[in-house]
Subunit: 341 residues, 2 copies
Amino acid sequence: MTLKELAERLGLSPTTVSRALNGYPEVNADTRARIVAAAREYGYRANTMARKLATGRSMAIGHVIPLSAHQMINPIFAEFMAGASEIYSSEGYETLLSAVPQANEVQTYRELARRRSVDGLIVHTPRLDDPRVDLLRELGLPFVVHGRSVDIDEDRPVYLDINNRRSFEFATNYLIELGHRRFALLNGIETISFARRRRFGFEQALDAQGLRAPASRMVNMEMTETNAYDVTCAWLREPQPPTAILTSSTISALGVARAVRDAGLELGVDVSLISHDDDLSFMANEGDPPPFTVQRSSVRDAGAKCARMLIDHIAGKKVSSEIWDCEFIEGRSTGPAPKET
Amino acid sequence: MTLKELAERLGLSPTTVSRALNGYPEVNADTRARIVAAAREYGYRANTMARKLATGRSMAIGHVIPLSAHQMINPIFAEFMAGASEIYSSEGYETLLSAVPQANEVQTYRELARRRSVDGLIVHTPRLDDPRVDLLRELGLPFVVHGRSVDIDEDRPVYLDINNRRSFEFATNYLIELGHRRFALLNGIETISFARRRRFGFEQALDAQGLRAPASRMVNMEMTETNAYDVTCAWLREPQPPTAILTSSTISALGVARAVRDAGLELGVDVSLISHDDDLSFMANEGDPPPFTVQRSSVRDAGAKCARMLIDHIAGKKVSSEIWDCEFIEGRSTGPAPKET
DNA sequence: GTGAAAGCGCTAACAT
DNA sequence: ATGTTAGCGCTTTCAC
């Protein structure tokens, strides 16, 4: 069933039918009602391709993610997509997923732009000196960054970021207040800009109290359980092991927890652990629910927000970047710091 | 740069240029060379929407996945998509992702069909009595099922499945040979057809040796670490605990491993554990690499294969379903069964 | 081997 | 408030 056919059956012109169905105001209410009824009756749906060609808009949002799968396995990514998808479909957008090897990344964006496959893009997990921002600007494609790619001149791209610095500062302060003095930070690789900000927050909080963590206790690694396990084991074998460990993903938190247990120590008594997973954060001792939740500003909400920002951006509306603060949700303590030995 | 513009610059008709660029045979070799050169020079790319409209093909493959995120978090899904994506892009297809609440599933497929948004679909994680197969057939959309939805009359939809029954039979036999007699099965919920086949394989192997697992030792649960931990703890507290546990996901395997350790037992000595994660399977004791790999028939390959099958299917080629057998890759034992007590 | 012309199904000026 | 007319950029008969 095409628009033309529908129009013929109604004895109207395709134009009127199109207008009625697309909610243009200048259509007689009765006519519109008739048209809408007929459309439903015949199960008419506009052919997307025709519409796209005519309007020049693809009504699709692109997500280019590295094929390494590290990204896609990430529960954070899934949550983000869930939030974004909801907005997309409510606004009539489709989701175009490009899983490509990191090496083809630039080429993929170029192709997407040339073929006009998407109206806009979300940039995930910005890296330091990320080429994508400039690239997309050059290509003239609207985009929203989830995170911040640049430190100076932050306001140029539209972005939504979680205040990673502040949440780590906050968490560190919390542990300081509990009496901890020997800290360690198990962080992601610092090419991801999230990771660097987290370290800043951590160092800042320690600094303010005249404390510091030695370089050997601020580790940048790929966030796997095994890595976290190994590093933590090494720390715990040292003569003055850390009593407070901060890390930045659920996965690594599991490794830390295992190492603590295997060292014959108890989590929440001998060692306090705070994990801040990308945007979804909690203080992970054992138990469910976790005894202490840093925030649940919810990646899902972030996904929805980014989607909305992008759609507005595409529509030419003025959108401003946002930085979301983390909230501590449940204040249950993880137990006091151990006595100084 | 449009086709028309390019044609004008070359002093040719759009028709010829189109034919040359699309590899039609009836174009003079020289003309074609000129055209191709010019196209590259000007960076010409055909507008996908126009092409889509003209050909009636959307050049997109749809993946509808439940918003519950359980699916998307799944590393298996990520691997599958990685494999499929590679084929898609090499064949000029794009990936359309629809993350929708399970409740809107049917509606989503209908919409996709009516709007002609995709040329075909991959059906993930078929359930028992899955409505999608009949629905898609009704809608006339080509599709390939990853897994099998129906037991009887299996050959109707095009599918690619891993032989789950056989891999569990195999794994169970392996444990029987090691001397185990007390078995337990930690399985997914049986509305997922994978899960049921796994149980069949497990029971079949036991049966053949005159063994059986009591109903209380064949549990269907959502595959979370916590669930697995709890169930295993309960089992291990019983007077005659199982010495061999089979489970069907990496996540649940972690829970089992933790429970075994917490019970003061040793994995690979007191309890043998085999995990078969969706399609990516291994025998999980502690350590890396796992001491015993059931298979790595590789979900990625499966993704690529499904993609290829679907594309052929769309092209009208005859495709037949496949069932892939698992292979045991490394035969290192997990240690003997404990003495009967 | 090449081109002219007619769509694909829709939207958007521009009438009326 | 409705219709007429042109496209959108490409593919594809059908002539030559």
